[in-house]
């Protein structure tokens, strides 16, 4: 397959759909037919990219930030701040909950599906990492050890390892086959205890491996000077997976929090931030500062890369589901 032509500096909005509530998170389905976005009104909205046809998925009783698909794109799985997991038939004209149950005590903050689509991992405020059989929803394992709310989870592309990151930036590396903790890493720049406000701030708000599994990237906020006003910089901590050492901290000279992060196969990371307006940052190689920065119309809440590697979904606080393109200007997607 010939990689598509992309130009980060040509990053621009292609289309947008309005909604009645601010968004929380978004994902493209693996076939690239739909974009799904959760909103502050507890619904998930689905748009067909080609037609713009919109349907609402109703089933959660709180906000949804955890979402993913089986590799074939048949099932859309969501985890809510209501602690519930829901399996939705992603391609149905009007998806209804197919399987729904209380999976965690308190918020589910993130979920991940392993590369072969057999396992689902979920994390949340009950400090438990749970492994489920994706096909049946059967609970396979509960992994404990985190001491603060678990903010994110990601499977290593090799499928045998799982990474989880908590509020304090503690990353735990779990063996999936052995269901045990192997080691602990630290995304230290993403955590601070604010002594003035007497509260912790931090955690990986976005977390992804690169496709080769060489790096684990954690996005959040760093250099916080006022936790309760959100005065800090959007940052991505890049950890070398084999050594566990901090490789680099990508940092932008703006205010806000990284809420979305994707790796583009053409060897750059795209992060979006919110909190003080919205920004898109493009990072590459060992350069800590972004090689391209672009102002977004509003604070970003979620981000995903389309399977065509050219389109980008960004949902935001201004109730807009926006589709961007990375295609060079004067080219066709």
């Amino acid at each position: 397959m010939i990689p598509p032509a992309v130009d980060p500096k040509a990053f621009r909005q292609e289309k947008a759909w309005s909604y009645s509530a601010p968004f929380v998170e978004c994902r493209f389905d693996p076939q690239g037919r739909f974009v799904f976005a959760s909103a502050q009104d507890f619904t998930i909205q689905r748009w067909e990219l080609s037609s713009g046809k919109q349907v609402a998925l109703r089933g959660h009783e709180s906000w949804v930030r955890a979402m993913g698909f089986d590799p074939g794109g048949e099932w859309f799985i969501t985890g809510g701040y209501d602690g519930q997991l829901i399996w939705w038939p992603a391609q149905d004209p009007q998806p209804q909950p197919h399987r729904k149950f209380q999976a965690h005590d308190g918020w589910i903050r993130a979920l991940a599906i392993n590369p072969d689509g057999k396992l689902l991992a979920t994390v949340g405020n009950d400090l438990v990492v749970k492994l489920w059989e994706l096909a049946t929803g059967k609970l396979l394992a509960e992994l404990t050890g985190h001491e603060s709310h678990i903010y994110n989870v990601a499977f290593h592309p090799g499928g045998q390892d799982l990474a989880t990151c908590d509020l304090k930036g503690v990353i735990k590396h779990w063996s999936v086959p052995q269901q045990k903790l192997l080691r602990e890493l630290k995304a230290q720049p993403l955590h601070k205890y604010d002594t003035t406000f007497r509260a912790h701030i931090g955690g990986a708000r976005a977390m992804r491996f690169d496709p080769q599994g060489k790096f684990l990237a954690c996005g959040g906020i760093t250099e916080v000077s006022n936790a309760f006003a959100g005065v800090g910089k959007p940052a991505v901590v890049l950890l070398e997976w084999s050594s566990g050492k901090q490789h680099l901290v990508y940092k932008a000279q703006k205010r806000g929090v990284v809420w979305g992060l994707v790796f583009h196969p053409q060897q750059f990371w795209l992060a979006v931030s919110g909190g003080a307006g919205g920004w898109a940052f493009f990072f590459r190689g060992k350069q800590a500062a972004p090689f391209h920065t672009q102002k977004l119309p509003a604070s970003a809440r979620g981000l995903d890369l389309h399977p065509n590697q050219v389109q980008v979904a960004i949902c935001d606080y201004a109730r807009q589901m926006r589709i961007y393109t990375l295609a060079p200007k004067n080219s066709q997607t």
């Binding site: 502050q40 701040y81 709310h149 406000f197 007497r198 509260a199 309760f228 959100g230 919110g274 909190g275």
Partner: protein, 423 residues
């Protein structure tokens, strides 16, 4: 309004609390010339009542606590849960407190028309808007009206923050707060190592005689406050036991929580039990312009169990009949959720909680609209609350005090108690 000394001069004096180390270099005024009205004096003779204020600094979100609006555009991600009072729901962040609701009451219709921290703090603890009269803090006022004169412990203690001598207002520094920022006695109130009790008392007796000799010729506000500071420090030295929460059973200490707020609430109960009239415990911080929901999870996670344990503990000891417990902030938080998942300052429609001392069990006063942006029933403000606190404590809130020949209403005359809140 300043309080004059009998000599007729207005003096700036060194306050005893400043001397005790809770606040340095602050000036205040004496108290001679203060007389209560008969009704107030009568109130003082009744069985002593106490006020315990839990101050959630920064501005607790009413939507994440006492007045949840789940499923609305302002509701946020949390759900409402049932309480021990049928039909009354509060935010799911307060599961332990929900089980104590039969001992509590809620006011959900506060409109204080203010979004400034300093003004809000003043309103909620002074019962009026700032400006004009130098009215005393609720703690100073209740210490003056209810605290036995010869009691060895101060009448007004702040736990978790510094004292503030200015808050005594026209009552003078004698009624200012003793601040215990870390929940421990200041070093000046602890006898130096190597000094025996006998030697210390002899030393103090000598100081007292020298002071008496001086006061016989030159009695001033300064010297009086200075002398009083030494007396208070000496009394506190004999009251060390009151501050030793380690004497409490381990299980109870665990229930209160192994964190400053838990320890401070346990200390507050011990102080109230030993006769302190007004104790204010501060829990910080709720000023959540950014990530309101994460921070309320964090803060209320700490508050909830401790507060519920405190109510249970007070009730089981029979103290709740005589102790008014108030959970307050300087204001609430905006129904609108901002771009940082935060909520900003909001004084237009917010809530407080109360318990004990004759407050109606399970009462819910007032109502906001569907998404909490307006009060739609029984609007009240800080002035009404101030009257209500005083009435619950057995004080005629419509009474006056005489300060330098001027009759001073102890609460805002334009307001009155929330009668339906009082049993």
């Amino acid at each position: 309004m300043k309080c004059r000394y009998a000599c007729g001069s207005v003096e700036h004096v060194i306050g005893r609390r400043a001397f005790l180390g809770s606040l340095a270099g602050v000036t205040g005024l004496g108290t001679v010339g203060f007389f209560t009205q008969p009704a107030v004096a009568q109130a003082m003779k009744r069985q002593q009542k106490h006020l315990l204020v839990i101050y959630l600094a920064g501005g607790l979100s009413q939507l994440e606590s006492w007045d949840p609006k789940p499923g609305t555009d302002t509701g946020g991600p949390f759900r409402a849960i049932k309480t021990s009072v049928p039909g009354v729901h509060i935010c799911e962040l307060l599961p332990y407190t929900a089980k104590q609701m039969h001992r509590m009451a809620l006011v959900r219709s506060l409109n204080t028309r203010n979004v400034d921290h300093g003004m809000g703090r003043y309103q909620m603890t002074h019962g009026r808007n700032r400006g004009g009269l130098n009215v005393p803090h609720l703690g100073a006022l209740t210490a003056r009206l209810l605290h036995p004169k010869e009691h060895p412990l101060p009448g007004f203690i702040r736990v978790g923050e510094r004292g503030n001598i200015k808050e005594a207002g026209y009552l003078g520094p004698e009624y200012a707060s003793l601040g215990l920022p870390d929940g421990k006695l200041p070093p000046v109130a602890q006898r130096p190592k190597g000094l025996t009790v006998q030697d210390d008392l002899r030393r103090h007796d000598f100081l007292r005689r020298v002071n008496d000799h001086f006061l016989a010729r030159r009695r001033t506000a300064e010297t009086e406050a200075y002398t009083h500071s030494f007396e208070q420090a000496l009394q506190l030295m004999e009251q060390q036991e009151a501050f030793r929460i380690e004497q409490e059973p381990q299980k109870l200490r665990e229930q209160y929580g192994d964190h400053p707020f838990g320890r401070h609430c346990l200390l507050a109960r011990r102080l109230i039990e030993r006769g302190v009239t007004y104790v204010q415990v501060t829990h910080t911080n709720y000023d959540t312009h950014h990530e309101n929901f994460n921070f309320h999870l964090e803060q209320l996670g700490e508050f909830d169990r401790t507060f519920a344990t405190l109510l249970e503990d007070l009730a089981s000891r029979g103290l709740l009949e005589h102790v008014l417990v108030v959970v307050m902030s300087e204001f609430g938080r905006t129904p609108r959720i901002n771009e940082r998942f935060g909520r900003d300052h909001w004084g237009k429609s917010w809530s407080i909680a109360l318990a004990g001392c004759g407050i109606q069990h399970g009462a819910v006063i007032g109502k906001t609209n569907k998404n909490g942006t307006e009060v739609v029933e029984r609007e009240v403000d800080h002035g009404h609350l101030f009257h209500t606190y005083l009435r619950a404590l057995g004080i005629d809130s419509s009474g006056t005090v005489e300060v330098n020949g001027r009759e001073m209403p102890i609460a805002d005359p334009a307001r009155e108690p929330i009668e339906e809140l009082l049993a």
